[in-house]
């Protein structure tokens, strides 16, 4: 049976956003390719929600928390049973860890971090940004299954209104050489850059590390993630996890607010595919204004506190 298989992940009993997005584009591909949309998960709790996104079946391997080897074995087994035309992974840490391992086991290629997918002439065609968005590469994935990892926020999550997916239990191999010693949870209220709808980023215009509080305050008020320019990370003002750009994370949220960021080419490459860009900078000639939809020439230390208060009011 041809069709589309999507690797899905749960967090607190719910499908991760990246999984919902991958299921949504997966359903469109299944319609075009002819065949069912099915999912892989580590818990039957995924069935109801996966069904809403159009999955007919969920192959469940009770393999516990994510670990490369047992998941590779279980997923490769499902692929050989189901024989999907397409295998998709949401571009999460675990999705990106697993996709290449499974591909090498199956002897097929992967299109990584794609922001467009279509099924044409019996092949999976994908678009992927390269050189941090300075080039878009259109590729055809020729193997069976054709594997892709999807870029977070690139595909809208759309429910299809289906009933719960049928659960098919598969054996989870116990062999695992890698032991999870500890998992350090993110700080409460912290939203990761990859999945954020809104990102508030700070640059050298903040002048010192402590002033990242202006960025954090606005990010918390608006329900967004904290981003940073490379210069501030290199200066040790903030952890690398927050870096947006070519040697950080490439992001495409709905709203990107850049405060005190002049817009070095490597930063622009990492955020210019954001849907709505707002820049606040004192220098009217700053390159960031060339990509901004709304540019505010002004002092971030004056504007951000007022904006944070206004956002809090608007949220009530």
């Amino acid at each position: 049976m041809a069709g589309v298989l999507v690797f899905t992940e749960l967090k607190d009993g719910k499908l991760k956003k990246a999984s919902r997005e991958a299921l949504s584009i997966g359903r469109k591909l299944a319609e075009a390719a002819g065949g069912e949309l099915v999912a892989f998960a580590n818990d039957a709790a995924a069935a109801a929600e996966a069904g809403k996104f159009g999955a007919k079946k969920v192959y469940v391997a009770a393999a516990g928390p994510y670990s490369t080897e047992p998941y590779t074995a279980a997923l490769a087994q499902v692929v050989s049973d189901v024989k999907p035309s397409v295998l998709l992974f949401g571009g999460t840490s675990d999705g990106r860890d697993l996709a290449p391992r499974v591909a090498a086991r199956l002897g097929v290629g992967v299109a990584s971090d794609v922001d467009r997918l279509e099924w044409t002439d019996g092949k999976l065609r994908a678009r992927r940004p390269m050189y941090s968005g300075k080039v878009f590469s259109t590729v055809e994935v020729t193997g069976t299954p054709a594997i892709a990892t999807t870029r977070p926020n690139a595909f809208p999550a759309e429910e299809a209104g289906g009933g719960a997916a049928e659960v098919v239990n598969v054996t989870a191999p116990a062999d695992n050489r890698v032991k999870i010693v500890e998992t350090k949870a993110p700080e409460a209220g912290e939203i990761s850059l990859a999945e954020a709808d809104i990102i508030v980023s700070g640059g050298r215009g903040l002048k010192e590390a402590d002033n990242f509080k202006y960025i954090r305050d606005l990010a918390h008020a608006i329900g967004g993630a904290v981003g940073a320019s490379r210069a501030t990370v290199d200066a040790g003002w903030i952890d690398h996890q927050h870096q947006v750009g070519q040697t950080g994370r490439v992001v495409s949220p709905n709203v990107y607010i850049a405060a005190g960021i002049s817009g070095a080419i490597q930063h622009l490459a990492g955020m210019s595919s954001s849907k709505h860009i707002i820049a606040i900078n004192k220098d009217p000639e700053a390159p960031i204004f060339r990509v901004a939809d709304l540019g505010i020439v002004g002092d971030l230390f004056q504007i951000l506190p007022v904006l944070t208060e206004e956002v809090k009011k608007a949220k009530h």
Partner: protein
């Protein structure tokens, strides 16, 4: 403790990229060791300084990629293998097959990669090599301890961290923050000149070129992104008015408030 570090040679991150057909135009581009590979290399050199052994750098690429190996030797790698070939004509699995074969040809306890090649940004080759060699993998590592036939690594996951333990040999891919890479010293550059780079062809490794260069992911076209023209620019001297302007934009255009 013998380490292998696989490096790729990529255009400088500040480069303006020009397209030539279904490839990028290499004319006038400055090439560097891919930034994440620098963290991998530094970690291997520190391991050698602590516990001895060799650090072998391996690259698969055209003639120019040799400069990357020279740079790695100058920083403290002790051996280098250059598998010559147009790596950009192979897909990630093709590249992984070449590197896995080269790694198998030398003694090793741990294999390092950068978490992704900067530019192509696939992030596929490290885990693919791990699978081909049958080794455990730990990806996107920000802290590493090696000893006693095993490694303990901190793996970055969305906004959090996992501490993982794996037996050696294993594949580790390096993330920024793992260490602070050193610069090459003049003494290192001179010493590196005395080291002979072991040049090999794909065929020397016993691989079938047809399989290595069989593109499972075929580039159909490369396109430049649409030029953004820039939007409205507003004077923000009045902070309250500027804040209102932003709120209005987020609410009405982005529909996010």
């Amino acid at each position: 403790m013998n380490s292998v570090v696989c490096i790729s040679h990529v255009p400088d991150t500040e480069s303006r990229i020009k397209i030539a057909g279904s490839k990028i135009d290499e004319a006038g581009l400055k090439f560097i060791v891919s930034p994440y590979d620098e963290f991998a290399l530094e970690e291997a050199i520190r391991l050698k300084e602590k516990s001895g052994g060799d650090v072998t750098v391996i690259t698969f690429g055209p003639e120019r990629a040799q400069q990357g190996l020279r740079e790695a030797l100058a920083r403290g790698a002790t051996k280098a293998i250059h598998v010559k070939g147009e790596a950009s004509d192979a897909d990630s699995l093709g590249v992984a097959k070449v590197l896995a074969a080269a790694i198998k040809s030398i003694p090793h306890d741990i294999v390092f990669f950068g978490k992704q090649g900067v530019g192509t940004d696939n992030g596929l080759v490290g885990p693919m090599v791990a699978e081909l060699l049958g080794y455990p993998q730990v990806n996107v590592v920000t802290k590493l301890e090696v000893g006693d036939g095993k490694l303990t690594a901190h793996r970055e996951i969305e906004g959090a961290e996992e501490v993982l333990e794996a037996p050696l040999p294993a594949v580790v891919t390096a993330q920024k923050g793992l260490n602070e890479p050193r610069y090459s010293s003049l003494k290192g550059i001179m010493a590196a000149k005395k080291i002979t780079i072991d040049a090999k062809s794909v065929a020397d490794l016993g691989l079938d070129e047809g399989d290595v260069f069989k593109q499972r992911v075929v580039v159909v076209s490369l396109d430049a992104p649409p030029e953004k023209s820039g939007g409205r620019k507003v004077d923000g001297a009045d902070a309250a008015a500027a804040a209102q302007e932003i709120i209005k934009y987020i609410r009405e255009e982005a529909k996010a408030l």
